[in-house]
Structure formats: structure tokens, C-alpha cells
Symmetry: C2
Subunit: 109 residues, 2 copies
């Protein structure tokens, strides 16, 4: 049915503090997840695609499938990317909430 596989992009305000020990940990974790060129590329890919991508990412990167899967796991664990099962494949998309969170934290520096 071609429903967008990505969540409805909730717009509730983010009340988490922008500094303090927890914010430091959070920022470090998010930044660490982006701290690799391949993962930056993945995020860019997911940003440009209107629909969410699945294994096309593997085709776009000069890396083995297992390696790309690892990078996706890192991004998913950091909360920057979500993956939803779509039949035999898995549909990845950005998590706009945590991306905004990252921008806010970086902006607070």
C-alpha cells in the first residue's frame, strides 16, 4: 500500500536540558555516531530520499553489506535512524526528533 514507513514526525517540544552532565553524555554519543564518513553519507542518503531506503544504501557505499549493516546499527542505537520491517526488507529513515536534538546540543556549544 506504499504507506510511508516512517513515523509521523511528531512535533512535541523537546524539554530536555541542553547542558549539564546528561546533555554532555548525550551530545558525545550522538556526535560519536556521526563521527565516521560512511555514517555521514548514510544520513545524507536518508535525507535526500523521499521514501525511506533499505538496502540501496549498500549499493551507494563502497563497503560490504555486513559493514553497512554495522554502521546502520550504530546509527540506530544512537537514535538517529529508525528501521521498520517492510516485508522482506527493512526500511530505514532518519529520526527527525533526535536530529533536531543534535542540532540543539551543538548549537548550545
Amino acid at each position: 500500500m506504499e504507506t510511508s514507513c516512517c513515523a509521523p514526525n511528531e512535533l512535541t517540544p523537546d524539554l530536555r536540558p541542553i547542558e549539564g552532565p546528561e546533555a554532555d553524555e548525550e551530545l558525545a554519543a550522538l556526535a560519536k555516531a556521526i563521527g565516521h564518513p560512511a555514517r555521514v553519507q548514510i544520513i545524507r542518503l536518508l535525507g535526500t530520499r523521499v521514501s525511506c531506503v533499505c538496502g540501496e544504501i549498500v549499493d551507494q557505499l563502497p563497503l560490504a553489506q555486513s559493514t553497512v549493516s554495522q554502521h546502520l546499527k550504530v546509527l540506530k542505537d544512537a537514535g538517529l535512524v529508525r528501521g521498520e520491517i517492510d516485508g522482506p526488507r527493512i526500511c530505514y529513515c532518519l529520526d527527525p526528533r533526535n536530529l533536531r536534538r543534535l542540532r540543539a546540543l551543538i548549537g548550545g556549544l
Copy 2:
């Protein structure tokens, strides 16, 4: 003579592209440098201090002096921090230019 040890904060516009392979590498490198809680704390410290700090950083962090020095080196290599010799000690300060650069790159995601 208590001259501020930090450079004059030049305001020339940043013409570097915000996306593409080079930008990906650059963003990854900058993010990687921030990808550790201690380094986030260091950046925050340097941001709040009016004057540039030197070894006070060691006092503020629960880490050995050599470890802090290592983290400072990482931040310096990434271009986020500058260190200038000030007599017997070394004065560290943020590099506002590359901090802005980081914000721009993150904003471009």
C-alpha cells in the same frame, strides 16, 4: 600584559561547501572529536571562561593530567581548540571559526 591569548576572532565568511565528499570527511572528523564526554566538558569549560583556561581543566575533570592533555590534543588536531604558549603555561581557547563550521555542517543534515 594580560592580552587575551586568543586570536582576534576573524569574521571572514566561510566559503567551504556544506556537502559532498570533503564535507562528509570534515563533519565526521569534527563530530568524532566531540564524541567523548570529557571533550564535550572541555569545550563547555572553554566556552564559559571569559579568559582562556590552561591547566584548570585538569582540576575540573576527574582525569589524570596526561589524559586531559591527550583530549586537548584531539580537539586541537580537529581544529576546535587552539593553544598558545603563555609564559610557563599554555592557554587554550575555542576556535570559533571551526565551531561555526561544525554548526553549519550539522545544520546541513
